[in-house]
């Protein structure tokens, strides 16, 4: 049996990497969305690990719903990205400062 802390530390490592990815890739919304996927992956790791160690299947059911919501979210996010690229010809976050004042 692998200790529970190994899995939890692995998921925190993935979460920290994805936060670093959000800081690093501010030029490119696409890689920002990928970092978001990694973040959801680490959250799912936590849910499955704790569910497994507590002997409760509810964690896995919750992961199922998280996967559903993430699929819808990435579809909408990529559609928004396409609309953005069609209108502005760029996906750089720094070029999107439209608000004035």
């Amino acid at each position: 049996m692998i200790p529970i802390s190994y899995y939890l530390i692995l998921s925190t490592i993935i979460f920290a990497i994805s936060i670093a990815g959000i800081f690093l890739n501010r030029k490119n919304i696409l890689v920002l969305l990928m970092s978001l996927e990694l973040m959801f992956l680490s959250v799912n790791f936590n849910l499955i690990t704790l569910g497994n160690y507590l002997g409760d299947l509810t964690g896995q059911v919750f992961v199922f719903f998280v996967l559903t919501v993430v699929a819808a979210e990435s579809a909408i996010g990529l559609a928004l990205l396409i609309v953005l690229f069609r209108n502005k010809k760029t996906i750089d976050v720094d070029d999107l400062s439209e608000l004035k004042g």
Binding site: T12, A20, L30, Q60, V61, A72, F85
Partner: protein
């Protein structure tokens, strides 16, 4: 050192490596491919945790659908490969600080909390067979039926919003406009001519 631990270490090291490649590679296609690899590796780790159905779902849905969507978008958008800013190192202390903070949270909160827990208190939940898929399906269709249907509605919402956002009307196409069709009244179509002599 048993085989389970060796498998865990190999796949988790590979997982961390591919995650690092996702955020550091300059080409978005390479990022997407490394994300696919990291999903495969985490599917193996989920198998180790006994979540067989979810690991298959991760490969089928994530690698098969979501990541292919990502790759399509990468190829549709003509992105010039942006070079990363050299200010990588400025964020390194912040990243390490966040990592250590989360680790401290996990170790001091979760591990200590679950150390002395009575596992049998929660273990006797609806387990009808030894198959993970069967148990999960049983739970989904009995206890979590409403949530399951709400998940379906969320997927429908995703379909509709993605289509509406990206749909571009072609002015050359001929199409019906139902709103103006049903709002037609009698005097638009029928003209009564009076005073005509035979």
């Amino acid at each position: 050192m048993n085989i389970e631990l060796i498998t865990f270490f190999i796949f988790s090291l590979l997982l961390v490596f591919t995650c690092l490649k996702v955020i550091t590679s300059s080409n978005p296609v390479l990022s997407a491919v490394n994300l696919v690899f990291s999903f495969f590796l985490s599917a193996v780790l989920w198998l180790l945790l006994g979540a067989e159905f979810l690991s298959i779902i991760l490969i089928l849905v994530y690698v098969g659908a979501v990541m292919v969507l990502f790759l399509f978008v990468v190829m549709m958008l003509d992105i010039n490969i942006a070079k990363k800013s050299a200010a990588y190192i400025n964020y390194l202390p912040l990243g390490i600080g966040i990592f250590l903070a989360f680790n401290a949270l996990v170790i001091f909160f979760f591990v200590n909390t679950f150390e002395n827990i009575d596992y049998n208190a929660v273990k006797n939940i609806e387990i009808i067979s030894t198959s993970n898929t069967e148990n999960l399906g049983y739970l989904l269709f009995t206890k979590y039926l409403v949530e399951f249907e709400i998940a379906g509605l969320i997927l429908l919402l995703g379909i509709i919003s993605a289509i509406i956002l990206t749909y571009k009307k072609n002015p050359k196409n001929k199409y019906q406009n139902p709103t103006s069709q049903i709002s037609v009244s009698k005097k638009d179509r029928l003209k009564v001519i009076t005073g005509l002599k035979e």
